[in-house]
């Protein structure tokens, strides 16, 4: 029996879709069979981030309406045989699917795949309710900003009320220099407020922009710091104990020289 995990955040633009794509690819890289499901009906993006947008024939609404079989809608990934994408519909709205249909869909997928990772849309309305309906585990993504943490707190409350206990947290787009200067919330501050288990920390990386535009997830890029963080997170999801990457500050040469001499 597989695990159904929903990746949610409340706030938009914090990195849910990027996280879903990279986690899924990371798990597939480790050899597991994964289905990535995009539930952002009307604003689908997961297919673009994975580079599979021109392979879409049927989508999740076709499956729940019975216009096609589930296997016809699943798109095999370009790079990994064990990874599949169930795309959202672009021409419909979030009301096109009901939570009951999602529960049935997730139960079907759970029988055959090791992991089902669901990309939740932003917000807490129908799209969110659909996405969490079939899931038993949740990953909340947030950035180290007050607004995002506020929304994440709200979402964690809603998840606990819906029966998904103990969601895990990913802090995305963290900038070590800003944390050091006190301009950005620190990991401990965030955990203090949210009080959930930390799954991972992903540093800000401009390679992410390139990877999402090209449709090649950053986990596949050896030189990407964010990619390395996502690889570690995938391993942690499977139960392996991987220490959190320390926040690295890029120091200029003058700073290093001063450190050498002993000046601050």
């Amino acid at each position: 029996m597989g695990e159904v995990i929903v990746v949610t955040s409340g706030k938009g633009g914090v990195g849910k879709t990027t996280t879903t794509a990279n986690l899924g690819t990371g798990l597939a890289k480790l050899g597991y069979s994964v289905v990535l499901m995009d539930t952002d009906i009307g604003l689908r993006n997961l297919d673009v981030v994975l580079g599979l947008e021109n392979r879409i024939v049927y989508d999740i609404v076709d499956v729940t309406n019975g216009h096609c079989r589930l296997k016809q809608a699943l798109i095999k990934d370009k790079r990994f045989d064990g990874m599949f994408l169930l795309p959202a519909a672009q021409t419909k709205e979030k009301t096109a699917v009901t939570p009951d249909q999602m529960v049935e869909l997730c139960n079907n997928l759970r029988q055959e795949y090791d992991y089902v990772v669901i990309d939740c849309p932003a917000g807490i309305e129908q799209g969110f309710k659909n996405a969490i309906a079939g899931a038993e585990k949740a990953i909340v993504v947030t950035t180290p900003e007050v607004a995002a943490v506020r929304d994440a707190d709200r979402v964690i409350g809603l998840l606990e009320a819906a029966g998904i206990k103990e969601p895990q947290l990913i802090i995305n787009r963290i900038r070590a220099e800003m944390v050091k200067h006190g301009d950005m919330m620190d990991i401990d501050d965030i955990i203090d407020i949210l009080a959930v288990e930390l799954l991972g920390v992903v540093p800000e990386d401009s390679l992410i922009v390139v990877s999402t535009n090209k449709g090649e997830p950053a986990v596949l890029e050896a030189g990407s710091k964010a990619g390395e963080a996502y690889r570690n997170i995938s391993r942690r999801l499977t139960g392996e104990n991987v220490p959190i990457m320390p926040l690295e500050v890029n120091e200029g040469i003058m700073k290093r020289l001063r450190k050498l001499i002993g000046m601050k």
């Binding site: 009307g42 947008e53 021109n54 392979r55 024939v57 096609c68 016809q72 370009k78 672009q90 021409t91």
Partner: protein
């Protein structure tokens, strides 16, 4: 007979909608149902949908004779750009004066003609008409479908057409040719 020299090679992948032994010349059965029940975006389209809905039931199930003959005056003209998420479904020919952005789709029983950049999904001959063509000033769709053939651009190639092109079924697959007056007469 001179073939136009800039014929682009056949698009790479040809996915069948269902396994080969089922397909033959039958169009995908999904389309007539989807076609008549989905809502269109702008109001001027709605009137046309209602007219189409009043067509008697037999023509929803395409027959051998009806699928290949779409009268040329059964054409819809759209004088704007289609944005992502917008969908045009019509059982005749469709002409768009504007672009078709990625995420938009056109499903037509006849030809699809785009006076602009076609970057979305176009499905011509949706009822099984294999003679339908898709043509655009800049033909770079995410996916192109004619009757029951589905194709997309090859993964490694940067698709950047500089001149109007036309896609049609030839033999077993879909080919793309330069479009110019007389393209279909081999001049």
């Amino acid at each position: 007979m001179n073939k136009p020299e800039s014929i682009r090679e056949k698009l790479n992948l040809m996915m069948q909608l269902s396994p080969p032994h089922e397909v033959k010349d039958k169009p995908p059965e999904i389309y007539p149902q989807l076609y008549f029940e989905s809502a269109l975006d702008s109001e001027e389209m709605e009137a046309k949908t209602r007219v189409s809905n009043s067509v008697p039931d037999e023509s929803i199930i395409p027959s051998e004779t009806s699928s290949n003959v779409i009268p040329s005056d059964k054409t819809m003209l759209i004088e704007r750009t289609l944005r992502s998420g917008q969908s045009i479904r019509y059982d005749g020919h469709v002409v768009v004066m504007g672009d078709v952005n990625p995420g938009a789709e056109i499903v037509a029983g006849g030809h699809i003609i785009v006076f602009g950049a076609l970057r979305g999904v176009a499905h011509a001959g949706a009822f099984g008409n294999k003679n339908a063509v898709v043509t655009a000033c800049r033909l770079s769709p995410t996916q192109l479908r004619i009757a029951n053939h589905i194709t997309r651009a090859p993964d490694d190639e940067e698709v950047n057409p500089r001149q109007p092109e036309v896609a049609k079924i030839s033999g077993d697959g879909v080919i793309i040719e330069k479009y110019y007056p007389g393209w279909d007469r081999g001049f």
